[in-house]
Amino acid sequence: MSATGLRPPRNRADPRAVPWWTVQWLILMVPVAGAAVAAYWMFTERALWLGVVAGVFAAGCLVLAVVGPRASYRVERWEVTDQAVYTRKGWLTHTWRVAPMSRIQRVDTARGPVQRLFGLADVTVTTASSAGAVKIEALDHEVAAELAERLTAITQATPGDAT
């Protein structure tokens, strides 16, 4: 009886990804937590048990914003070989994606406004399939540019019409 599994890809995201993701989560979570507390303060009769619920909810949001990025950083990995792009992501649901070089149609790098402050960039590899885009998140922007260039070069050297 053999146990077959997928090995994790070799590379992690850039360590600066953790603060970047934390900022992203906080941008989302602080208003949510704030809204919960504000709603409790303004629209209820400030019952104690409700206050505890609201407080726990707000604290949970903030803890999630701190823990989530670290968990993602542990899980998110990527690897590029001469044959394929290979990524893993997902914390509860693991998702592995493999895209062969011969099917890659487009390589994009993207940098959001906050992301730029951290010097990070995403690389998105698109195949002919509408479902097959592979995204490598939070790379150092120079590494990302290099990677995109390398991928483009390999893709052009690989024969096939990519469908």
Partner: protein
Amino acid sequence: MSAAARPLPGPATGPISGPISGPVGEPPGGPDDGWRGLAGRSPWASGVKSLAIVVAAAIPLARFLVGRDWPAGGIVAACAGAAVLIVAVVVAYDLLRLRTTRWRLTHERLELRSGLTTRQHRSVPRDRVRSVDLRADPVRRAFGLSVVKVGTGEHAADGSELVLDPLSRRDAEALRRTLLHQDAAEEPADGPLAELSWSWIRYAPLSVWTFTGAAVVLGALYKVLDSFGAKRLTTRVATGAWEWITAHPLVAVPLLLGVNLAVGVLGAVLLFAESWGHYRLEREPGRLRLRRGLLTTRSLTLEERRLRGVEITEPLLLRLGGGARVRTIATGLGKAADDETEDAAALTPPVPRALAVRVAARVSGTGLPSLAPHPAAARRRRVVRALVTTAVMAAGAALVPWDWARGWVWLVPAVTLAYGMWLAVAGAASLGHALGPRHLVARRGAVVRRTVALDRRGIAGWTITESLFQRRSGLLTVSATTAAGRGHYDVVDVGRADGLDLAAHAVPGLLDPFLIREGAS
């Protein structure tokens, strides 16, 4: 070279110059020559079709004038005037459109210049032409006309097709043959892959629409009558009917259901007849050709180079009746146009299952291998899901605060349980996968069971997902991404080792570097 400024020469500029004669495939000498018009009979067809608008316009007009106490003669005159005006406008527009539209076929490309106000010049290289589809509604057919759509097999964005609306039927057929490099004499060698047998019409009513369609039609009719101002009449009829139903429920309800069913069956049968009459699926060298349509005839071509597999779909009712349908998985297939009754990927109407399997096998080139079932954990997962849903429903039902609901609310979790368990068992029984010599085969679905045979060369990558619960039961979902069809086809809840082996063998070398195999080598 400006497309707009130059006067366009052409043999057929008048409205009744008859069919264009001369060989289509022979482009004349000079580069500026060979421009030709569309079929000159088109305005006649448009005129006949505009009568529908005339009817739609005349009825409200007549009603309006009756309301104003016009004399009968005046009403008739006004309606006749409106009719003449409408027909004249439509015919004049069509004449103008015809005069400004020119097309030509050179050795390299098919070109089309068109547009009354905005001039367009479109050109398609002949070696890029992938499909030539002909379509003729009953009016155009009576005038011997066909609309020709030339597709290049690009991802079918808007306007990627070049449309010649209309050509004479002979020209259209000739153009089709020329563009697809086919001699008239060349007939498919081994007969059609499938041809209509009217006995298939027994499968036509096996659809949800049979039971709901009549109600939908009735609703639509009500709307239409309303918009014609017959509101008082429809309201009176509806109120009368409602009173009668409440007075005699034992007679009325079965009768209504019976009528609903009868209308639904009749509608389904008529729709089947219109969509699939004269149905014929043939293999021509390098492509499939599908012809169908009783009143509006359609001829569709699909290059086999674009074919990435086939799919057998069995919706519940059809499955219970022993039927199935075959669809293609192909790249660059557009969505069906709004006025189409079938989507572009449909290869067959509902047919007996054995025939569907045979057609699928012949289209894909190999027989379908027998499928391996998925582990018992897949069924357990579905049963647990059904039980959890039932438990949530039951908790909800227990908490319902309203007294009037207490009597029957327990029915909700009971029905949920029965339906959920059926879904779980049927869904698990449907699961299966296999690796054929050329295809990856996967089956799933409780309500609509789909068996997909995806060409292994068409697989453009893998997405493998494993949820928390899947991980605990040793299952995962292997999804093959592809450029064709829905974009990805999934093998759901397959055993971990089986699924990874399947993916590794389906596309040799792609997944292997990322696999760890322990135990056996």
